[in-house]
């Protein structure tokens, strides 16, 4: 049976660590897939929340971020939605290119795409959905 969790967060980056830990604890299936879950999902969710708070909501403390988590037998999906105007994710440059490698920013979406099985944005660009599938490595 699916497990669902919905959180409404204040726009405060200091809350991210606690939110990620809370979501991790909520997913009882996930401990069977420790490595992928602990690294990939943890970093992916952290990046999505950071982007929503810092860029989507422009660090505005009056705004909020909505997190919707669905845990199924085969995967965990999380949607992170901010109250900003959105952006075009296709315009984000590749941070691993020589011209970009020594820049301090610009790695968040790249890490999400590298670590998660699916990453997609809504048309407005203010909501991202991340999916991590559980496959082939239970017990690691």
């Amino acid at each position: 049976m699916d497990q669902e969790l919905i959180l409404e967060l204040p726009n405060d980056v200091r809350s991210i660590e606690h939110v990620v830990e809370y979501v991790m604890r909520h997913c009882s299936t996930c401990c069977d897939y420790a490595r992928r879950f602990n690294l990939n999902f943890r970093v992916g969710l952290t990046e999505a929340l950071s982007n929503a708070m810092l860029y989507g909501n422009n660090s505005d403390p009056q705004k909020r971020v909505r997190v919707e988590v669905t845990v199924r037998v085969e995967e965990i999906a999380v949607r992170v939605t901010d109250q900003g105007v959105g952006f075009d994710p296709t315009t984000v440059p590749d941070p691993t290119l020589p011209d970009n490698i020594s820049k301090s920013g610009g790695r968040g979406i790249f890490l999400m795409r590298s670590l998660m099985d699916e990453v997609w944005f809504n048309d407005q660009g203010n909501s991202v959905t991340l999916v991590l599938r559980f496959e082939g490595e239970a017990g690691e």
Partner: protein, 110 residues
């Protein structure tokens, strides 16, 4: 989650305990910049007790490395576990930093 600062000879060692993420990256940045201002030039950031790093944490390390090099100093990283090393390899930042297997190895020749 904390940053422990200690001296080993003339090298400043910062142990990252917990996470290096968007919520605490400024604390690390300020600590290192303060020490740079005081005249420290050789730094090791040790990750033996670090759970994970996000892109903001990676970005702070890139920024600090640049500032330290501008002052003719050097920043080395040490004790990245398999997960953390994966992040550096994915982002190709392993090509930008000197990464040692241990704190002791990082201190050698610095």
């Amino acid at each position: 989650m904390a940053f422990q600062v200690s001296k080993s000879g003339d090298v400043l060692v910062i142990d990252v305990q917990g996470q290096l993420i968007v919520g605490n990256r400024q604390e690390l940045k300020q600590k290192v910049l303060d020490e740079l201002e005081k005249g420290e030039r050789r730094f090791v950031v040790n990750f033996s007790e670090t759970g994970y790093i996000d892109s903001s944490g990676l970005g702070v390390l890139v920024s600090l490395s640049k500032k330290i090099r501008e002052q003719e100093g050097e920043l080395r990283l040490a004790s990245l576990n398999e997960d953390l090393r994966t992040l550096f390899e994915l982002t190709k930042l392993d090509t930008l930093f000197t990464i040692a297997d241990s704190r002791e190895e990082a201190l050698e020749g610095l």
